[in-house]
């Protein structure tokens, strides 16, 4: 698709606005009637394709839009040639050209369906084949049209790159009508289209007319692609796919995803048209698509559900929590060994009232641990120990006792008990249920204890620790 785009960028230099120093200001303040028309039209187009694109993407039909937009080209050329043959001049009628575009677009979808049904060709190969054949045919026909005396001024090339700037009020009315139909349909059919996209078989068993719904969805895709063809060109497919893909980074909810995709589609289209109106030689369609791509990249980075930055922050937070848990657990184990030096810490800590105990009564808060001890106990790099200690102090989990000694605070002792308890529960589970040697379980539990949520801890309790009271810490099943 990109290659095709670059190719046509050279073949058909686009016509753009002349610009002087005032032009940009005029555009931005929407002083021109023309700018207002173009903006409204492309914005509606973006919103609508964002909605339809969401359904299409979730139905895993993303590439159908690609096929439709490419397959619309021969339709445009054929419609023009037929029109010119019957009455010269009539071939340029927009409606007539769009009828042609819709016909071949639909024909291509039907072809894909037939190939899938009656042959062993894989679905992706079927799409690629049909796209190639139709687009190739379209390119040949366009060349023919260009060589006709009337073909030069026909302005058919705008169907390839799109030219939003030539949009007139009548176009906007048509887009608005289409947008209204799509909006009403998608609001009414939100439930139906979601069950179709999630689980087609289940929908069919419930009695939904799956074939009909699919046909309706394809109809919407063809409709919106054809209507957008004039202003955005064959890159219409990008306007269908990019907004919902970007929207997925922001939400885990079907309805919200549709809304966000509509917003991103509208914003991409508006930004793209404004840019192409301000900067000479920027073609409308590709600029809109590039604006959409910018929104996609922003979403991928900053999306609140799956954005890269969001995940990265979560990782940092996790690592910090793990470091903190490891630290307080190490302190706990050191103190535990001190409190019962003779044994191999097999007595366990049974302080069920530790939650209400006063700070200085809890023996685990009274003991100070030297940095050097920590360093020896876990063989951590000294830098890491110092870093973790600094963070833990800021969080009020430990406090300084002397120059190099640290104490657990009350909150720290609670956190330590929880961490040690989870760690040992998991060890006991590994030993008793998974039959792993006690000498091996410590390392395994090291990585797991941090991801045990409350529900898994509950299950562990019922499985291995029925004799361990809820608030107490069981003894370590192996020498610490």
């Amino acid at each position: 698709m990109v290659i095709v785009f670059v190719f046509f960028l050279f073949v058909f230099p686009t016509t753009t606005f002349a610009s002087d120093s005032n032009a940009i200001l005029r555009v931005l303040t929407l002083q021109d009637y023309n700018t207002r028309v173009v903006l409204l039209g492309t914005m509606l187009l973006g919103v609508t394709s964002g909605i339809v694109g969401t359904f299409m993407l979730l139905r895993r039909q993303a590439l159908i839009g690609d096929v439709v937009s490419h397959a619309a080209l021969p339709g445009v050329a054929i419609a023009f040639l037929i029109g010119e043959a019957f009455s010269p001049g009539s071939g340029r009628s927009l409606h007539w050209l769009l009828v042609g575009a819709a016909s071949t677009g639909l024909l291509a979808v039907v072809c894909v369906g037939i190939i899938r049904r009656f042959s062993v060709v894989k679905p992706d190969a079927a799409l690629a084949t049909v796209l190639g054949v139709f687009f190739g045919f379209g390119a040949v026909l366009f060349k023919t049209v260009q060589e006709l005396p009337s073909g030069n001024q026909a302005g058919l090339q705008q169907f390839i790159l799109g030219s939003a700037s030539t949009m007139i009020a009548a176009d906007v009315v048509m887009i608005a009508k289409a947008a209204a139909v799509v909006l009403v349909l998608s609001l009414l059919l939100l439930k139906e289209l979601s069950i179709l996209s999630f689980d087609e078989d289940f929908a069919a068993v419930q009695g939904w007319p799956v074939g009909l719904l699919d046909l309706g969805l394809t109809g919407l895709v063809v409709g919106i692609t054809v209507i957008g063809l004039e202003s955005v060109g064959i890159l219409m497919v990008a306007l269908l796919i990019t907004p919902p893909t970007a929207a997925r980074f922001w939400t885990d909810n079907f309805a919200k995803m549709t809304l966000v995709a509509a917003l991103i589609g509208g914003a991409s289209a508006t930004t793209g048209s404004l840019l192409s109106a301000m900067v000479p030689k920027l073609a409308g369609g590709p600029t809109i698509v590039l604006a959409g791509t910018a929104f996609f990249i922003l979403s991928m980075l900053f999306g609140t559900r799956r954005g890269i930055v969001h995940r990265w922050l979560q990782q940092i937070r996790n690592r910090r929590r793990i470091g903190r848990d490891d630290l307080v657990r190490a302190m706990y184990e050191i103190i535990e060994a001190r409190l019962s030096p003779a044994s191999d810490s097999s007595t366990g800590d049974s302080l069920p009232d530790c939650e209400i105990a006063r700070d200085d009564i809890d023996p685990f808060s009274r003991q100070a641990v030297e940095l050097a001890e920590l360093f020896r106990h876990r063989s951590w790099p000294l830098r890491r120990v110092k870093q973790t200690v600094a963070v833990a102090e800021r969080e009020g989990i430990i406090r300084m006792d002397s120059e190099t000694g640290w104490r657990l605070t009350k909150a720290g002792a609670t956190a330590a008990r929880r961490a040690v308890r989870n760690h040992r529960l998991w060890e006991m589970y590994l030993i008793s249920q998974a039959e792993i040697a006690p000498s091996h379980v410590d390392r395994d539990a090291d990585n797991i204890e941090h991801i045990l949520g409350p529900e898994i801890v509950e299950q562990l309790e019922s499985l291995v620790a029925s004799r361990v009271p809820r608030t107490s810490v069981p003894p370590s099943p192996h020498p610490v």
Binding site: L58, F118, L189, L190, D199, V205, G211, R248, N253, E455
Partner: protein, 271 residues
Amino acid sequence: MEPETQRPEPAGSDDVHPAWSPLSIHDMTVAYHRQPVLWDIDYDASPGKLIAIVGPNGAGKSTLIKAALNLVPTISGSVAVFGDSYRKQRGRVGYVPQRSSVDWDFPVNALEAVTMGLYRKIGWFRPVRKQHRQLAMKALVRVGMQDYAMRQISQLSGGQQQRVFLARALAQDSDLYLMDEPFAGVDAATERAIVDVLRGLQQDGKTALVVHHDLQTVAEYFDEVILLNLRLIASGPVKEVFTTENLRATYGGKLALLDEVSHRMTMRGES
């Protein structure tokens, strides 16, 4: 996009389909795409029973369910639900597909996924309302998943996803349930939850046909069994049918010729 295929109209309430049977299959043969073939299936399910469908891989267990539900076309034969055509009795049938049949990355949470079981009852164009969400929540409680209602379905474990599928079918409140491998690859907690649900269904007088792969638990979980290997080998109460002899017939290798012809049938028009 799978195109609609011609499906034979199921027969009405004639003699071959007793009205007492929740699912009655008469002389059904299926050969479709790459699905295993089924030959001449004749079967009447007893009402109010838990019935296991057992057989080796590729025996056509899923195909049997899908053909009964009209999801794959049949070559011959007919299917009736409660003595009537499936089309008319659709509301009384609940379906639990294989967990691997859908994309779990779909943007819904567990509660919304279960609510889908009510979509047909809600009807065309109407929005989901509070009372529907409450019904869905009740179904989640029945499978022990109430704490996970708001969790995105991709973040559930395999067993939890399976329980969501089960809850979605329960929300429909059907009289006949067809379940495709609900026990496949689930944890112990899920297995217990599913068994409890099945017992509950039976107490309410409902019928369930369950594709099951674990021969050890057939006698413990189910009342009746269908032994399947491209054809129906035996069916009936576990005590009578689940015998070494029948199992040998089911698992003791496919009939070479039957297998070969079946293969040719699925390849028709594809070479």
